[in-house]
Amino acid sequence: MAIVQLLISGISLGCIYALIALGFVLIYKATETVNFAQGELMMLGAFGGLVMMTIFGWSFWLAAPAAVACMFLMGIGLERAVIRPILGQPQFTVVMLTIGVGYTARGLISMIPEIGTETHTLPVPYAGQVMNLGGAVISLEQVAVIGMTAVLCLVLYLMFRYSKLGIAMQAASQNQLAAYYMGIPVRRINGLVWGLSAAVAAIAGLLLAPVTFVHANMGFIGLKAFPAAVVGGFGSLPGAIVGGLVIGLVEAFAGFYLPEGFKDIAAYVVVLIMLVVKPNGLFGGAMRKKV
């Protein structure tokens, strides 16, 4: 039953990567910039939930949506404050800027005494419970991660497919100028996309919190979501999910079957192979820049 257990833990880890990668892809599709602070947004979301639960004493079911809503606003604010002024500058500029944002967020959190300096457990209601599935022991945390990711994917799919906002976002990401001519407020849409991606990151953080712990450096997991986004193709939402699952599974199996040390770099080896074999990812189309 080791295989099933590995499969489940790989998929649940992959779902976390997928959620973070989803945030990258949302932003990349809308603004063609990459947010290197996505992992830190996830960390902030987890800390938001933690503060609301332990200090305000709210229940998990109240704190989690509140944290996600806060991160949504934070994403919009971040876009307005630092990203919009440099819109249109080379990609590298935004990369450096978001690295700066990430540094600042990590530093600020670790400056808060007693909260940022220590490692916490998020007291979720389903902590520590296990399910016995045909001989394989599966913790409820992992099931929650997988289930929540599936629900979120469905919600996002429905939103992009049917809601006016979702369709406007698609239009803006395909051609900003044409979308603007059609009366879509592209700048506001960009802000909302950043908010959406921060909210997704917060959900990822809240889901990850019971599996690992809440600490200031948990955002580094975001660096593993880059391979996920690249494997799926940077501009594709389903690709981010599939890429995340691929990376999660590869990591779980590499940790079990390969010598020590391979687990940490498996994701990076996969992404390098992917870049050589199929640079546009599994779901990305061939692109050639117009002159």
Partner: protein
Amino acid sequence: MRFIFKTDYAQDLQIVKHSGQAFWYGLLVLAMLAAPLWAGDYWLSQISFVLIYAVAGLGLMVLSGFTGLASIGHAAFLGVGAYVQAVLSAKGWPFPLTMALAAGLSAAVGAVVGLPALWVKGIYLAIATLSFGFIVEEVLARWESVTKGNAGMSVTSPQFFGADLGSSEAFYYIALGTTVLVTLGVLNLLRSATGRAFIAIRDSEISAQSMGIHLAGYKTLAFALSAAIVGLAGALYAHKLRFISPDQFGIVQSVDLLLLVVVGGVGSVHGAFLGAIFLITMPQLIALGKDYLPPAIGQAAGLQAVVYGVVLMAFVLFEPHGLYGRWLKVRTWLQLFPFYRKGMFKRQKSYAKSERLK
């Protein structure tokens, strides 16, 4: 204000543009040569660090600043250089040879890392280099028979045919010599056809290609050259620290190098030096400032990260040309006084150009 009257095309290629430059840079070289006389042990050591980081910054500048290829894994080359130097110095090889080998091996690794650059660019390349950085760090940690793994290894002082160059003065001169050679090398590179090809690739890949520049070759060359220079810096770094372990060459170091380049000024040789000075003096300024801040802020562990992050954001937002760009503005203001106009260095407004065909 100085007007340079050009009567010859060769003047455009001169390294020293006018006698003023010759005077000031000559003075700087003299002051640096005499540094062991006027600087104490502590300052000499700090200057050595600045020189090491300036060399590393020049390496990254060749790639990011002049060829326009981003790399978030450059600490890997620093690591390769440092470990080659550490292993070979322990065998008693003379330092010029070990440093050449450190640069050579680093260049070889750089050429390999450059391979993805042939297929991908922009953000994909950044992620490819990030991945390579992690892999190299892991290899350094796991290849225990050579690198002694995570326990780290101590580094002997530079050897030269039996002579032990362990004193801080001797090391300082080695670092200074390397820095001067690398700087002249980079300046020469920039005025050669190769350097111009690099800059053409940075400004527009497609027009460079149309002008007959072989993209694959030049990109690989840029990676190899950049890695070789950073490898040299790594060799110096190993001797300076006397103890190296894989975690010194991780993502944090890579981001520090990027910070150096951006704060100094992307695309200028001066920028590498200004950035290195910034990177070395900043932690000390923070340490000084700690005493004046309330203890809740001053003693917090995250203070340095916050300062770095805010400085990085501030430079990207307000001074994209870095410290060197700021100096250019100040100098122009002084030269033109009182005729400086506000819009002289205005950032060109550009619109987001889609990289998508659709």
